[in-house]
């Protein structure tokens, strides 16, 4: 008699399991189909450092003070300073080796002028390591698909403005 009850209980447990899987099969799947859909990271995501461009002048806000270069633990920032007619310093060359950057945010924290910010772009692959050394033009923000916006007057956020991917 006990074994008969055990059989009935076993059968009931099988049916319960089947109900669970059936209900789960009707729920939408949780897969995010990455290349077809672009994954927008959360705010504060560190993709790569970028130079903020002052919208009034169209030039980067960087004054080539070398504080970020000194703060970088890997020493991958190289800046050549120059001086304009009105005695304002500006960077002639600004290079960052993205292949060695560990996005630790120390350069962004160190900059006293708020000229550096972390961009959330993560699709940075290149075919040759030499192409990973970005210069002034490539590091400027805003660039195609990304724009910098002010949050509360001091903190800058970078947002992906690209819309849906093809």
């Amino acid at each position: 008699m006990r074994s008969l009850i055990a059989i009935v209980k076993g059968l009931w447990s099988v049916l319960t399991g089947l109900w669970v899987t059936f209900v789960n099969a009707l729920r939408p799947p949780v897969t995010f189909q990455y290349p077809e859909k672009y994954y927008v990271p959360l705010e504060g995501f560190r993709g790569h450092p970028a130079l903020v461009v002052d919208p009034s002048s169209g030039e980067p806000k960087c004054t080539a003070c070398q504080v970020c270069a000194k703060a970088c633990p890997l020493g991958i920032i190289e800046i050549e300073a120059g001086q304009r007619e009105d005695k304002k310093r500006y960077p002639v060359e600004w290079r960052l080796d993205l292949g060695r950057c560990m996005v630790c945010n120390l350069c962004v924290e160190a900059c006293p002028f708020g000229a550096l910010v972390m961009s959330p772009d993560y699709e940075l692959a290149e075919y040759r390591p030499e192409d990973l050394v970005w210069d002034l033009e490539r590091l400027k923000l805003p660039r195609e698909g990304f724009e910098a916006s002010r949050l509360d007057g001091t903190v800058l956020t970078v947002t992906f403005a690209g819309g849906d991917r093809k």
Partner: protein
């Protein structure tokens, strides 16, 4: 238009049959050619359905597991994935390890594939649409289903590897010990229908499907079916996570494809047998019989897949104990009750 084509083919067949009755020689030629045509149709049916089944299994298991399954190869839902996988398997190197028993190693996949093919001979796809309406159809079916054991043992022993041998031994033990309750359940159906021929069993269900008359028999048959198909919860012979694919671990490329396709062909064949025995085969209102048959078979296949992706694997001693101590008594009780039903109802 399809009905016109079928009518034309039937008239052509009738004309050829009459022309062949001129002499015994031409009669023999006609019979052999017609047999070959039927064989090719069966192989085509088997292969096409196997492709659909593998795709269905991947998509169904994905949805049950909250994921998507093949999506890229063949843009709407990856229907070309199977073709891609077949090409991949065909392009692999045919490795025959040095220490194997060559004859057994080479013949085993063929035996397993053929045993699946043999079952298709007695499956009625429609009224009269059967390859060969044997009078002893169910006995033939039990014999053909037992062929797989031979193929599994040949593969396991011939592979000359511990994993294969263990997998094959467990598989053979399971297959053999679950054939007994399966055949007993089939005998009960034969008693109710009064005939051993599969076509006769389908026709005998025109009033009432056998599942209503034989609920216990159906449960016994279902449990035995999973063991015969080597599917979870009874897939000890090829348990992927335990025996590294068991008896087919040493196989690669086309030979492995044979085992893989044979498993799904077997699934379809035995589902069709279950539908024939318990769910009225091709019987049904409005729709053409073949459509009913395919709908019922695929519904049964989906049930088998659904159970496969729900239940955990059963340990080998639990498996054999269940087969002999639970299923066999249940099958005997069912047989006894069916005897009383047939005699007095």
């Amino acid at each position: 238009m399809l009905a016109d084509l079928v009518g034309l083919l039937q008239r052509l067949w009738g004309q050829l049959h009459m022309a062949a009755s001129v002499s015994p020689f031409w009669q023999a030629v006609f019979d052999v050619s017609w047999g070959l045509v039927k064989f090719l149709l069966v192989v085509l049916f088997m292969i096409l359905n196997t492709l659909v089944l593998v795709w269905l299994e991947r998509k169904l298991s994905a949805r049950i597991q909250s994921r998507l399954g093949p999506m890229r190869c063949g843009r709407p839902h990856g229907w070309l994935q199977l073709i891609a996988d077949t090409f991949k398997l065909l392009g692999k190197e045919d490795i025959i390890p040095r220490a194997v028993d060559k004859a057994l190693f080479i013949i085993a996949p063929v035996v397993v594939f053929t045993s699946s093919l043999l079952i298709y001979v007695v499956i009625p796809l429609g009224p009269g649409a059967i390859v060969s309406d044997l009078d002893v159809g169910m006995v033939y079916l039990a014999a053909a289903a037992s062929f797989t054991v031979m193929g599994v043992l040949m593969a396991g022993w011939g592979s000359n590897s511990k994993w294969s041998l263990l997998g094959a031994m467990r598989g053979a033990a399971m297959l053999v010990s679950y054939e007994v309750p399966m055949v007993l359940a089939v005998i009960a159906v034969v008693m109710v229908s009064g005939t051993l021929s599969t076509d006769g069993i389908v026709r005998a269900q025109s009033g009432l499907w056998n599942i209503v008359v034989q609920p216990l028999g159906f449960l016994v048959f279902l449990a035995a079916l999973f063991a015969e198909l080597n599917r979870v919860p009874f897939d000890l012979a090829e348990a992927e996570s335990e025996l590294v694919a068991g008896y087919n671990v040493e196989y690669s490329g086309l030979r492995f494809a044979f085992f893989f396709l044979a498993e799904y062909a077997n699934l379809l064949a035995l589902s069709a047998v279950a539908v024939t025995l318990y769910f009225g085969g091709w019987q049904g209102p409005w729709l053409p019989p073949f459509v009913w048959f395919m709908l019922k078979t695929y519904a049964f296949v989906i049930l088998v897949m659904w159970i496969r992706w729900t239940l955990p694997r059963v340990r080998v001693d639990q498996l054999l104990s269940f087969g002999w101590k639970v299923l066999l008594p249940a099958a005997l009780v069912n047989l006894f009750a069916t005897g009383i039903y047939v005699l007095w109802v």
